[in-house]
């Protein structure tokens, strides 16, 4: 989901539809949408376009554009596609509107689970969940008689057996590209070891035992990975799976469907999913939960907002889910979980359950600081404590500049 592709590679597609097939009403006013560019958004915006007068912009750089575009008056877009990570700036700047009235009037079919409430007010309607969970080559584990690993220690033990058997190039893959990705992998492991990122007074709290243990575990994983792991993002890991070069990875659920695309995958039907492994006994799976959904701009007229919401609801209906069942772990009623969704569901329903990604201003700064400072540990230039201390120092500088710390 949040793969930071390069600006040039970032897909930008425009769908302008005038057709009115399969839509409950004929849309007369223009509705503009800005969202991330992955398969699920394609499905949703195409279903919205059936109402006519819809122009959707699917752009991997959406999170850079969205805050300024929604702050304009009138807002440049009516509907925004957000995740629990990217909704924060919109909420902070008050550029999205409460949806309680609109949900009461047009959203009767939504399940209560979909309504994102902040202090009781509905600010967004979620459509899907996403999480990083264990994906593995079922055939390899079965051949070697390895049970599906449930903890990271078991993953490492399994990796050792796979390496000795020599059936793939590298037993493990991981999204450890320097920057956003490696920080996210650390976040998963850090939460798995019971860490908290920031104290209530906004001071950092990562240079702790949980932090060191998380880094050490990640370092042990790298032994079984392609040595170029510091440039490997979600797309790269997905391709490693598809080309049969890795056997296990903690990868985004939204990438699972790609394993069974016959045109690009050599491992169709061989990859299975399971809950994200736990980092310590009795802990939550070492991962975070994410949702994607829609918001409606505040800086547009009430009529336009009402119209935009009705169109958005057409995009999030059962019909759309039935036609695109495999594209995501949908929250929309009518979704039939596929075998590949097992891992995400097991992760989300684990006891204790993993946290939602804690999106706050502090977390944004911490995520950047971790992404910039942790790679030095993996290149062998500093120790785990030094890397975490550097991340804390970078966080403090950034937080002072942002006015969150004195």
């Amino acid at each position: 989901m949040m793969i930071r592709r390069l600006a040039l590679a970032g897909a930008l597609s425009l769908i302008a539809g005038t057709a009115t097939a399969d839509c409950a009403f004929e849309n007369e006013t223009e509705v503009r949408i800005l969202s991330a560019a992955f398969e699920a958004w394609n499905a949703v915006t195409e279903a919205m376009a059936e109402c006519g007068n819809v122009s959707a912009e699917l752009d991997q750089e959406f999170r850079t554009k969205q805050p300024s575009a929604f702050a304009a008056n009138p807002s440049l877009y009516h509907v925004g596609g957000v995740s629990n990570g990217t909704i924060t700036p919109l909420m902070n700047e008050g550029t999205i509107r409460p949806l309680d009235d609109l949900v009461a009037e047009y959203g009767q079919h939504l399940s209560p689970n979909q309504l994102i409430r902040i202090n009781g007010e509905i600010l967004a309607v979620a459509m899907m969940v996403n999480t990083q969970h264990l994906m593995y080559r079922a055939d390899i584990l079965e051949d070697l008689g390895i049970p599906v690993p449930a903890t990271w220690e078991e993953v490492l033990a399994a990796a050792e057996v796979i390496r000795e058997a020599g059936v793939v190039d590298y037993p493990l893959g991981a999204t450890m590209r320097a920057g956003w990705n490696i920080a996210q992998d650390f976040n998963n492991m850090f939460l798995g070891f019971g860490g908290t990122f920031v104290n209530d007074d906004s001071t950092p709290n990562v240079n702790t035992e949980a932090g060191v243990r998380a880094l050490e575990m990640m370092m042990r994983m790298t032994e079984y990975m392609d040595p170029e792991y510091l440039v490997s993002d979600s797309t790269y890991v997905q391709q490693q799976f598809q080309q049969g070069r890795i056997a296990m990875a903690n990868l985004w659920a939204s990438r699972a469907a790609a394993m069974n695309i016959e045109e690009e995958s050599q491992v169709v039907g061989l990859v299975a999913t399971a809950a994200a492994p736990t980092a310590m006994p009795g802990g939550a799976p070492a991962t975070t939960l994410w949702w994607d959904g829609i918001v409606i701009a505040a800086n547009i007229s009430d009529e336009n907002a009402e119209n935009a919401f009705r169109v958005a609801m057409e995009g999030l209906d059962e019909e759309m889910v039935r036609a695109n069942n495999d594209d995501a772990i949908w929250l929309v009623p009518g979704y039939q979980p596929t075998p590949l969704a097992e891992g995400a569901i097991a992760t989300a329903t684990a006891e204790p359950a993993p946290l939602s990604y804690p999106s706050t201003s502090q977390m944004g700064l911490m995520h950047t600081a971790l992404g910039n400072e942790l790679p030095a540990y993996f290149t062998g230039d500093v120790t785990a404590e030094e890397a975490l201390a550097a991340a804390e120092a970078a966080y403090i500088t950034a937080a002072q500049e942002a006015g969150l710390l004195d």
């Binding site: 040039l8 629990n84 902040i118 320097a178 170029e228 993002d233 977390m363 995520h367 950047t368 290149t379």
Partner: protein, 341 residues
């Protein structure tokens, strides 16, 4: 030329330069001494997010900006002197590292690591670009007239490619089991991972930049070669000058103003090295000054951007370019003043 005619011709361009070059520069300069912060408050917020079957609600203390009556974020702007520069340069840490002669510690500070690579990159590519450019120009100049056109066309191709695209192409050729890595692995009979350590990435960056820019030097030098005085060359031959002597004492002095020109342009361009870092996604191993500015400006998920540090870092990059250019500019200035007319 009368002053009014002169002003009429030059005026529009001066105006545009003030508007699009000077004004933003002054803005960034002032911005590097200022800091704009939102006024924030801490509130308890209950957030309900979807699990797979039911929602989970959590109550947390959240820091959020205060909005004014128009719905805009309330901000304060303060003059902070050199604080942003200190945050970028980290002079205390840098000085400790230098005093202890601890190179590794110095390289842990982003700015100094970026400066090290940027300077190395600039100074290593400069002679290579000049050398290869001149060599291609001489080769083409001596090639048979019939094949000159196609040779010039092929030599120019790398320069036409958009830098980011070129960098990405090199990346895909070498990353993982890219075709060139596979070829090298077969040839050397060993397993290679070119993106796993800094020095191989830096080598690829140097290779890419020289490959990309040498055609520019070639075109300029080739044009210069057409104006070499043939009489001087012939008299040099009669005097018994070898091929090398003619190059050393006739051709290079004649091309000198062009060499200085190409060097100036190349120094300015390569000190702003950026496409290679992004294209190779090399920030774990290698970063440059321009990338540092970009990184400060990139918003995170929560929408934070470090404008003040980005401004300071941009000003420092400009200062660096000016320092590098001073020797060449002085030379040009001397030549200009010493000109007989």
């Amino acid at each position: 030329m009368r002053f009014r005619t002169f002003a009429g011709f030059v005026g529009p361009s001066v105006f545009l330069m003030l508007l699009f070059i000077a004004a933003p520069l002054v803005g960034v300069f002032l911005g590097s001494f200022q800091i704009t912060q939102p006024v924030v408050e801490q509130v308890e917020v209950e957030t309900c997010t979807p699990g797979f079957l039911t929602q989970t609600c959590t109550t947390e203390l959240v820091t959020r900006p205060i909005l004014d009556e128009n719905g805009n974020i309330t901000t304060t702007t303060e003059w902070i002197g050199l604080t942003s520069y200190i945050r970028v340069l980290e002079p205390g840490r840098a000085w400790d590292a230098i005093r202890d002669l601890d190179y590794n510690a110095l390289m842990q500070i982003d700015f100094w690591a970026a400066l090290r690579f940027t300077l190395m990159f600039t100074l290593v590519t400069l002679p290579l670009v000049l050398g290869f450019g001149l060599a291609i120009a001489l080769a083409v100049n001596n090639a048979a007239r019939s094949i000159r056109g196609p040779v010039i066309f092929v030599s120019l191709l790398p320069f036409i490619i958009t830098p980011v695209i070129g960098a990405l192409s090199i990346r895909w050729l070498f990353i993982g089991d890219g075709i060139l890595t596979s070829a090298l692995e077969m040839w050397l009979d060993r397993d290679l991972a070119l993106f796993a350590q800094a020095w191989t990435i830096e080598l690829m960056m140097l290779f890419y930049r020289v490959w990309h820019v040498a055609p520019f030097a070639f075109v300029i030098f080739y044009a210069g070669l057409q104006t070499v005085n043939q009489d001087t060359l012939e008299s040099a031959i009669i005097d018994g000058a070898s091929r090398w002597d003619r190059l050393r004492y006739v051709i290079i002095p004649h091309l000198m103003p062009l060499i200085v020109f190409v060097a100036l342009i190349h120094l300015m361009d390569s000190y702003r090295v950026f496409e290679e870092i992004v294209g190779f996604s090399s920030q774990a191993h290698v970063i440059s000054l321009q990338w540092l500015t970009y990184d400060f400006l990139q918003p995170d998920d929560a929408g934070n951007r470090a404008y003040s540090r980005a401004s300071a870092s941009a000003m420092l990059t400009m200062v660096g370019i000016v320092i590098l250019l001073i020797p060449l500019l002085r030379r040009t200035w001397r030549d200009h003043k010493g000109a007989p007319h």
